[in-house]
Symmetry: C2
Subunit: 310 residues, 2 copies
């Protein structure tokens, strides 16, 4: 294992992602002491039971005191307040990062509240599941997944060193680390994550509200495709509300493209333009091959789930 990358890590918000960071960091020997701050008493009780941290508290300032790395893993709109609560207790030279799905608003909120001498390096692991809470985390979550850092525009040596250290940390947890401009991150993620969630939430809502087809029928016959959408539509409601409220412009822009394309597809169906449909349906097959080749998906049919059922 060698020496820990950060002698003390504080995690603020210990749900699926926060608890996975702790599990992965401990397994990799990347941290020494671990402190957790979580607002929910029931989470704190579980975190204590699971033995995830040396300190478990509801007080953010207490958790971050003396920490070398602070990871904010709360919903995007809660980042600013959490940072304000932490600020007075941060030690000079500490690295502050986060795991939020939107980087523009978070980078701003963290930076605004940061005291002098603190290295703010926003981050985002492209990993997760549809489950929530400290029990949902696991140490392999970041294996072979991308971690995007959106460093500030400064190139003094201490900051560069802090970025290199945080990169080493995430690499130790199994991630492939990339750097990206904040605005570009928010556009790319609007496409690969935010729009898919919006569409999934929407289609599941539509299917639940029909008069000619019952909810029981929708569930019963869901293996024809619908069930795939229910997975991401089961993701944490608070987290996702915040994503759409803070990445509004990019999401609406991409949603506009999607809607245009859908209208064209609808028209092709109405007019019986089979060639257009066939052309699109052939092209999209290639994208899946690309996703599998990029190591971001299993090649097994039906995600392999059919062979695991009782």
């Amino acid at each position: 294992m060698g020496q820990a990358i950060y002698p003390k890590m504080a995690v603020v918000g210990c749900g699926l992602i926060g608890s996975s960071v702790i599990r992965a960091a401990r397994q990799a020997g990347a941290v020494g002491e671990v402190a957790v701050a979580d607002a929910k008493p029931e989470h704190r009780a579980r975190i204590a039971d699971l033995g995830l941290a040396d300190t478990v508290t509801g007080d953010i300032a207490e958790a971050v005191r003396d920490a070398d790395l602070v990871v904010f893993a709360v919903p995007v709109l809660a980042m600013g307040e959490a940072m304000k609560a932490a600020a007075p207790a941060l030690k000079p030279g500490v690295t502050v990062t986060d795991v939020g799905s939107v980087k523009g608003s978070v980078a701003e909120a963290l930076q605004e509240a940061a005291p002098e001498g603190v290295f703010v390096i926003p981050g985002h692991p492209i990993a997760g599941t549809e489950q929530s809470g400290p029990d949902a985390g696991f140490p392999e979550l970041f294996q072979n997944r991308w971690l995007i850092l959106t460093p500030q525009e400064r190139d003094d040596a201490p900051y560069r060193e802090a970025v290199a250290r945080l990169t080493a940390f995430w690499t130790a947890l199994g991630s492939n680390v990339e750097q990206m401009d904040v605005r570009h991150h928010d556009l790319v993620l609007a496409v690969t994550s935010h729009l898919p969630h919006l569409i999934a939430y929407n289609i599941v809502g539509t299917a639940a509200d029909l008069e000619g087809v019952t909810q029981a029928e929708v569930m019963k016959y869901s293996a024809g495709g619908f069930r795939d959408f229910t997975r991401i539509a089961a993701s944490d409601p608070t987290m996702w509300r915040d994503v759409f409220l803070t990445n509004r412009e990019a999401v609406l822009e991409i949603l506009g493209r999607f809607t245009e394309d859908l209208q064209a597809l609808s028209r092709a169906i109405r007019w019986g333009e089979g060639d257009k449909l066939f052309e699109l349906f052939s092209r999209t097959r290639e994208i899946r091959r690309g996703v599998i080749a990029a190591g971001q998906e299993t090649p097994e049919p039906n995600f392999g789930r059919d062979h695991r059922q009782p």
Copy 2:
């Protein structure tokens, strides 16, 4: 095993579904002799290599001669021609069924071409994967999946017996069999299968055609949600073209609902109506629980795929 339910079965079109029917029926001892007709020489060669059938031919009439059960497993728009080719060779008392995803147009096409004394009982297994061809099939595909029969409106004893026999056949293959009105089937499946495929094809197409985000980025960061959609957007293009061309009205009706809901959601984002978003995102979680409780989905996070990757 006891006696076969059908001494001879003919399967016309031996791709994912056709070859799975054969594998499952043989494993269950539900059939004796098996004949296959497939239009593609390369499929016929694979079917012979795999030892899936006693007879493999390109001639539909030859395959269905003396068969007690004929299963049409070709794309929906090819059903009528296949039935016409089979008709002169069908023996009296044979049961003719299919596995098409749309029942209205198929039921009509089969019935029109059916000679006197043939029992036409359209059917649809709510099962499948995104893969195609005879190598993609497997015997467990229908286990614990629904099979919908849409029998004709006739209640003479011989027809009722033929329906009971076909029900016993699919039950032996692991399916739960239900009967449904043709029009209701096409509406229910428009919701649970056709719209999800349309949306998936569309979003994958949209993501492939952006100027600000490259295809490589879309693939690389797909684990944020996008990858789920690529699975069903990798399904057979011919099959799905035919589904949209033949179930046009129901698909456009459901698509209209989806689009309305999406406009409302878009508006809620634009105006920052967090409560509306939170309410929808909480409701959709329940639907997933229902799908899992209905035995149509694995409860494992991320479909269980993350723990299976290399």
